[in-house]
C-alpha cells in the first residue's frame, strides 16, 4: 500500500480551442500543475449536466509549475468531451489528480522512439518533453486516420523541442495517416518497422488505440527494446477505489489502469 497523492483541486479555463477535426487544446490554471508528472492523468468535472455523473479522465501534454498551467489535448468522443468543448476562458470547475504512475526514464542509454496514435498524442507529448528536459534524444511517429485529425502545431513542437544530446542532431518525426492524406500512408507500426531497420533504440514509449499499442509492443519485443505503454480504459473513480478499469496482466489476473498504470511495461500486459 502506498500513500495516495491524489487530491481535489479547483481549476480555471485559460483557453479552450479546436486544433484539428474533433481535437481540442485546453489550457487550465491549477495549483496541481507543479505536482503532476509526465504520463500521469487527471479527472475533470464538466459542470452543467447532472445526468452524466462521472468525471472525464484526461492525460496532459505539458505542465508548467511556475505559471500554474496545464495543457491538455483531447478528442471529442462522447457526451462528456462534447460538453468540455463548451467551457470558456474564465469558467471554473474541479479536477481530481494527479492520478496513477507516469513514464519512467529509459534505463539504457541511447535514443528513444515515441509512437502516438490518435488521442494517444498528449501523454506522448509529455514523454517527449520529459526526455528533452533530460537532454535525451528521441524520434517520433504520430498517426491519425486523416490529415484533418493531425494537430500540426503539436507535431512541429515535437520537431522543435530542444535537445543537447549530440546523437539527436537528426531527430526524425514521421507522420502517418490511414488514408495517405498526410505523411506516410499506413499505420504507425508500418513507419516503426521502417525506422527500426535504420536506427536502434533504447526505449519505446507509446499511447494510442489498444490494437496499435499491441503492434508497437510486438515490434519492440522482436527488436529487444524495452517498451512502456500508456493504457486507456473507461474509468469510474480514477484513483483506485472502484476497480472498474482493469487491465489484463500477462502473468494472469488484473491490474487497475488508474492506480497501477496508466503506464505499464508492455511485457506486463496481456495483449
Amino acid at each position: 500500500m502506498e500513500a495516495s497523492n491524489t487530491r481535489l483541486w479547483p481549476f480555471e479555463v485559460v483557453s479552450n480551442e479546436p486544433i484539428a477535426h474533433d481535437i481540442w487544446r485546453l489550457v487550465i490554471a491549477s495549483d496541481m500543475a507543479s505536482e503532476i508528472e509526465p504520463g500521469q492523468f487527471m479527472n475533470l468535472q464538466v459542470p452543467g449536466d447532472g445526468s452524466h455523473i462521472l468525471r472525464i479522465p484526461l492525460s496532459f501534454a505539458s505542465s508548467h509549475g511556475p505559471s500554474g498551467t496545464v495543457e491538455l489535448i483531447y478528442a471529442v468522443v462522447g457526451e462528456g468531451t462534447r460538453r468540455l468543448t463548451m467551457m470558456e476562458a474564465g469558467e471554473t470547475s474541479t479536477l481530481v489528480g494527479p492520478s496513477g504512475h507516469g513514464w519512467r526514464l529509459p534505463t539504457a542509454s541511447g535514443r528513444s522512439l515515441l509512437v502516438a496514435g490518435g488521442v494517444g498524442l498528449p501523454p506522448v507529448m509529455a514523454a517527449a518533453r520529459m526526455l528533452a528536459e533530460q537532454g535525451l534524444g528521441f524520434d517520433a511517429i504520430v498517426g491519425a486516420q486523416t490529415a484533418d485529425r493531425h494537430p500540426e502545431a503539436q507535431i512541429d513542437l515535437l520537431r522543435g523541442l530542444p535537445s543537447n544530446d549530440l546523437c539527436d542532431c537528426a531527430r526524425r518525426v514521421l507522420v502517418t495517416t490511414d488514408d495517405g492524406t498526410l505523411g506516410i500512408r499506413g499505420f504507425t507500426t508500418d513507419a516503426m518497422a521502417k525506422l527500426l531497420e535504420e536506427r536502434s533504440y533504447a526505449q519505446v514509449y507509446t499511447c494510442g488505440p489498444n490494437v496499435m499499442m499491441a503492434g508497437v509492443a510486438r515490434l519492440a519485443r522482436e527488436h529487444g527494446i524495452d517498451c512502456q505503454v500508456s493504457m486507456e480504459r473507461m474509468m469510474g473513480c480514477g484513483f483506485g477505489a472502484c476497480a472498474c478499469c482493469n487491465v489484463g496482466m500477462s502473468q494472469g489476473g488484473y491490474a487497475l489502469c488508474c492506480q497501477d498504470g496508466p503506464v505499464f511495461d508492455a511485457e506486463e500486459v496481456a495483449w
Binding site: 495516495s4 481535489l8 447532472g50 462521472l54 469510474g236 476497480a243 472498474c244 489484463g248 488484473y254
Partner: protein, 309 residues
C-alpha cells in the same frame, strides 16, 4: 455552533456519526486520504469484499455510464483473499480504528463453505475488524453472490452458518428485492443489522454491435437514479424488522442521507458518489448535522424512522 448527538449504533458497531461507505466504491479507505482525514471523519468504512482465496474478478469492460445519473458495473469482486488483504491493509485499517472510525470487513463467497472459510480467516487474522458484512447480493458473479440471497431460506442459511463463527457484529448486504421477507429471515437467523440495497441488475446494449456494453450481459446499476427505489426498500425493510439498517443507494447529499434516516436507516453509506465527488463526506456530514438541528431535535436517533405517512 451545532451541538447535536450524531452517534448511532449499527447492531453493536458504535459509530461517531451515521456515515459509512458502500463496499466496492471506497477501495479500502486509503485512496481517500488525499481528500480528507478518513479516520477522524467517517463513522465507519466498509472495505472491499474479500473471499477466502483471491478472485480475479470479471474481464473488461467493467463499467458503463448511463445517461440518467447512473452507472453500471460488473467488477465481480476482484480481491486478493483475506490473508493478503490483511497483510496489505491491516496496518492502515487498525490506524482508522485508533482514530475512532469503525472498520467493517466484507465477506464474499461462492458457497456456504466459502463464506464460512472467509469469516474464519478474518476472525483469525483481522483484529481491526469492528464487524463483518456478509455480501449475499453481488449481481456480478456467476456462482454465489446474489444467488445466495435470492430467497429467505437461502439468505438465512448463509447467516446461520456464519453466526457461530464470530462474536463481532454481523451485517448482511441485501439484494434489491423482497427486502421485508428476506430481512425477517435474516433477523431470525441472527443478523445484527442489514445493509441495503446492493446495485440493481440492469442491461445496457450497444445497438451497433448488438453486444452488452460491459463484459457480461447484465450488471449492477447504481448512482442517484436509484435513490428513490432504495429509500422505498429501506422503509419496507424497517417496518418488517427490529434490527438496525444501513441505507445504501444513490446518496449524494445530506438531504439524500436524511431521507434514508427518516425511512428507517440508522446508518447511511456513500457509494457511487465517492467515484465522482470523492471529497463529499465532510460536507455531507456537516449538512446532515445542520438538518438534525433544523428538525428541532438534539439527537439524530430521534429522527430514525421518523417519516410521517
Amino acid at each position: 455552533m451545532v451541538s447535536v448527538n450524531m452517534a448511532v449504533n449499527l447492531g453493536g458497531i458504535a459509530m461517531r456519526n451515521p456515515l459509512n461507505t458502500a463496499s466496492g466504491t471506497y477501495g479500502n479507505g486509503w485512496q481517500f486520504e488525499g481528500f480528507y482525514d478518513v479516520g477522524t471523519t467517517m463513522g465507519a468504512i466498509t472495505c472491499k469484499g474479500v473471499a477466502a482465496e483471491p478472485w480475479d474478478g470479471n474481464p473488461a469492460p467493467r463499467l458503463a455510464e448511463l445517461s440518467g445519473s447512473a452507472i453500471m458495473n460488473s467488477v465481480g469482486l476482484q480481491n486478493p483473499g483475506v490473508a493478503s488483504f490483511v497483510e496489505q491493509y491491516g496496518g492502515y485499517l487498525q490506524g482508522l480504528r485508533d482514530k475512532g472510525c469503525q472498520v467493517i470487513c466484507q465477506v464474499a463467497g461462492h458457497s456456504i463453505d466459502k463464506y464460512v472459510r472467509a469469516t474464519e480467516l478474518y476472525e483469525e487474522l483481522a483484529p481491526f475488524a469492528s464487524g463483518f458484512e456478509i455480501n449475499i447480493s453481488c449481481p456480478n458473479i456467476a456462482a454465489g453472490g446474489a444467488a445466495m440471497g435470492a430467497t429467505p431460506a437461502a439468505a438465512a442459511e448463509v447467516m446461520r452458518a456464519v453466526r457461530p463463527l464470530t462474536k463481532r457484529p454481523v451485517i448482511v448486504k441485501m439484494a434489491p428485492h423482497d427486502v421485508a421477507e428476506i430481512g425477517r429471515a435474516l433477523e431470525d437467523a441472527g443478523a445484527d443489522a442489514l445493509s441495503l440495497i446492493n446495485t440493481i441488475p440492469g442491461m445496457s446494449i450497444d445497438v451497433r454491435t448488438r453486444k452488452s456494453r460491459l463484459s457480461r450481459p447484465t450488471a449492477g446499476v447504481s448512482g442517484p437514479a436509484i435513490h428513490a427505489i432504495a429509500v422505498r426498500m429501506v422503509w419496507e425493510c424497517a417496518k418488517a424488522v427490529s434490527i438496525p439498517l444501513c441505507g445504501i443507494g444513490g446518496v449524494s447529499s445530506a438531504e439524500d442521507a436524511a431521507e434514508m434516516i427518516l425511512a428507517g436507516a440508522t446508518a447511511v453509506s456513500l457509494g457511487t458518489v465517492n467515484m465522482y465527488d470523492p471529497a463529499c463526506a465532510p460536507r455531507i456530514l456537516a449538512d446532515l448535522e445542520q438538518w438534525v438541528e433544523s428538525q428541532g431535535v438534539s439527537d439524530i436517533n430521534d429522527l430514525i424512522g421518523a417519516f410521517e405517512c
